[in-house]
């Protein structure tokens, strides 16, 4: 019991525990399968958002093309699912049975060679991670080694998003074009459209997301995380302290891309299709907004940002079909103007101090009562009690929002 208590007192652990409880217990209990599936979809965007926290919030590298990596992960998964949905039996009315329907419509008569590996589930799982990371490596290595950064890098990522969208739409016979890949049914024989499958996929997605948050927290606490912050503020100082700055940026970019790819794969699984509308410039910018609203310095904050913004999007578009875009814009502008560090920043600067003050006050009153109850004959106990209180008060990190990490010095 006490060990759990001390574990929870470690900075960051409590917030992850609360998030885990919310995702794994509260949501499944509170919502029906339709809503749960929707939340699962929002969570796939959260993967991208936590990647952006590491890349943009900590590393200071803004990418406006994260949709590319989300899309690549999603397409890799969708290709596997599509192949499985296109067995010769179900596609026997096509002129070439056994290939995906859109290929048949586009007069392809054989499966393109680069589709073949996606028959393998293992290859697909590796590809979901490796393909986005490989592209991220190529782009970022070329850019960062040449010291291209800041706005220029952001513009290049936008260009990549545009190129990939155009490519997917243009190569209709190979990619399904603007419609994307639809009618995804089973994964290794397991029907992903049933209610029970949706629940299982939700748990898998939420579990994987939590794992990524834990891993991300671990990276933030490592020297790599400290260096990311250092690079963001004084790149030259890091370089002239003997670090190859470009490789650290490449690593952060690849990491963010890999996480986004996982998100994309879960999207394809849960939503049942993948299309270029999740790859281009607009969705990429929306993904950055999720991160900004949630708080670009906080991994947990980014998850809440993704949930809140997407839930608002659904809610607004259901209730005010004409107004919802304006309401969304108001939300974005409002949050980013009033709280530059997003919801997580708001929590750190307002709610946390308020809560601390309140709990301190309550503790003081409790202690007073105890003193009065015990009278004067129990001094030892009282002193001990007050000692505990002092350490508990001093314990929570009172750092401002921008200063997130505190690996205990000395």
């Amino acid at each position: 019991m006490t060990s759990i208590k001390t574990l929870l007192k470690q900075p960051g652990v409590l917030s992850i525990a609360i998030l885990a409880a919310l995702l794994l217990v509260v949501f499944p209990a509170a919502f029906d399968i339709f809503r749960l599936n929707l939340i699962g979809k929002y969570l796939t965007y959260a993967f991208v958002a936590i990647g952006l926290v590491l890349l943009w919030g900590w590393g200071g590298v803004l990418s406006l093309g994260q949709g590319v990596f989300f899309g690549l992960g999603g397409y890799a998964m969708a290709m596997f699912l599509k192949l499985e949905a296109s067995d010769p039996e179900t596609t026997k009315i096509q002129s070439t049975p056994g290939i995906p329907d859109f290929m048949d419509w586009n007069q392809l008569t054989a499966l393109p060679i680069w589709w073949e590996p996606f028959h393998s589930l293992t290859f697909t799982f590796i590809g979901v991670l490796a393909i986005p990371m490989l592209l991220a490596f190529l782009i970022s290595y070329a850019m960062f080694k040449r010291r291209v950064g800041g706005v220029y890098f952001a513009i290049i990522t936008q260009a990549v998003a545009l190129i990939l969208t155009t490519l997917i739409i243009g190569l209709q016979g190979y990619t399904g074009g603007v419609n994307g890949m639809t009618d995804l049914k089973t994964m290794a024989g397991w029907d992903t459209r049933t209610d029970s499958a949706k629940v299982i996929l939700y748990y898998a997605c939420a579990g994987m997301l939590l794992l990524c948050v834990v891993l991300g927290t671990w990276i933030q606490r490592s020297k790599f995380g400290t260096l990311l912050l250092a690079m963001r503020d004084k790149e030259d100082r890091v370089r002239f302290s003997g670090y190859d700055v470009s490789m650290f940026k490449v690593a952060a970019f690849c990491l963010a891309a890999g996480v986004s790819g996982i998100g994309g794969a879960f999207f394809a699984l849960q939503v049942g299709f993948m299309s270029p509308s999740f790859v281009g410039i607009v969705p990429s910018i929306e993904l950055v907004i999720l991160c900004a609203v949630g708080g670009r310095m906080s991994l947990v904050g980014a998850v809440y940002g993704a949930l809140l913004v997407n839930a608002a999007k659904t809610l607004f578009s259901e209730s005010f079909p004409d107004l919802w875009l304006f309401l969304m814009a108001a939300l974005f502008i409002g949050v980013t103007m009033a709280f530059p560090l997003g919801l997580a920043g708001l929590f750190e600067s307002h709610i946390k101090p308020w809560w601390k003050k309140r709990s301190d006050e309550r503790r003081r009153i409790k202690q007073r009562l105890k003193e009065l109850e015990n009278g004067d004959d129990d001094h030892g106990g009282t002193a001990n009690e007050s000692g505990d209180t002092v350490s508990a008060i001093a314990d929570p990190s009172d750092s401002p929002a921008g200063l997130v990490i505190r690996r205990s010095p000395v």
Binding site: K223, D236, R237, R239, F240, Y243, M247, F248, P409, V410
Partner: protein
């Protein structure tokens, strides 16, 4: 092309031109082991550019820079640092959002690759080293302070401390006492004397009082070239130097 030397640093025929303007023009400079060299010169003489070229921030157009007899001009910045060249910038360049401890810890020369940094452990060795350096620069009491909250002078010291963490054999300081109070200047002069006892140090400075206090050998630069070299007294009595610099 260039000679073998016993010098820590041997700069020979170094030239850099920006659109035809030669900021450094055929310059030769030799720095000995455990030497504290001060470079002075009027604004635009090319002092900072020279340091930029030695540490790799600016690429040379021609010439050679040898550190411990190894050619540096072809190496990227971080490799030069790893070989033992440390550079302090003109304005204090520290990580304001990190604590003093973290500033020093990040500068510890281990875990410099991406993977190495992920698995880097702050061992007792690192802590002891941080403590030792913090005492050297007089910041041992402020280890947990956010570096942005330090005074200007303390920031300058912190950056020197970050360099000391790397144990460089050649330390280059660009105007280390800029913006310091009289007392801080005195402390800095003592610090420089201490740290130059077992390494070579190049200091750029404008403050003549300070230069007199620390300098063993002074190099005067003017228009990208070396105008004079010698003890402070030699240099101050050199008529050319008086004309371009001290006479102003």
């Amino acid at each position: 092309m260039s000679s073998n030397t016993d010098f820590v640093l041997a700069v020979e025929d170094l030239t850099v031109s920006f659109d035809g303007f030669k900021a450094i023009d055929n310059l030769n400079l030799y720095v000995d082991h455990n030497e504290l060299r001060v470079i002075i010169g009027p604004n635009g003489a090319g002092k900072t550019t020279l340091l930029d070229m030695i540490c790799g921030k600016t690429k040379a157009t021609a010439g050679s820079i040898k550190f411990k007899n190894e050619e540096m001009t072809v190496l990227p910045e971080y490799t030069r640092v790893r070989k033992g060249i440390g550079r302090k910038f003109q304005t204090p360049s520290i990580y304001e959002n990190l604590s003093v401890f973290q500033n020093l810890e990040v500068s510890f020369p281990k875990g410099r690759s991406v993977i190495g940094a992920v698995f880097f452990q702050c061992t007792d060795e690192v802590k002891a080293r941080v403590q030792a350096v913090a005492e050297e620069i007089g910041l041992a009491d402020t280890l947990s302070t956010e570096a942005g909250l330090l005074s200007h002078g303390q920031k300058q010291w912190l950056e020197i401390g970050m360099l000391l963490m790397q144990e460089p054999e050649l330390l280059m300081l660009d105007e280390p006492i800029a913006g310091m109070s009289v007392r801080e200047r005195e402390l800095t002069a003592e610090l420089l004397k201490r740290i130059s006892s077992n390494r070579s140090v190049i200091v750029i400075e404008h403050d003549m009082e300070f230069v007199k206090k620390i300098a063993q050998k002074v190099t005067v630069m003017h228009q990208g070239k070396i105008l004079a070299e010698g003890t402070m007294d030699d240099v101050q009595s050199n008529p050319q130097v008086i004309e371009v610099y001290l006479g102003h």
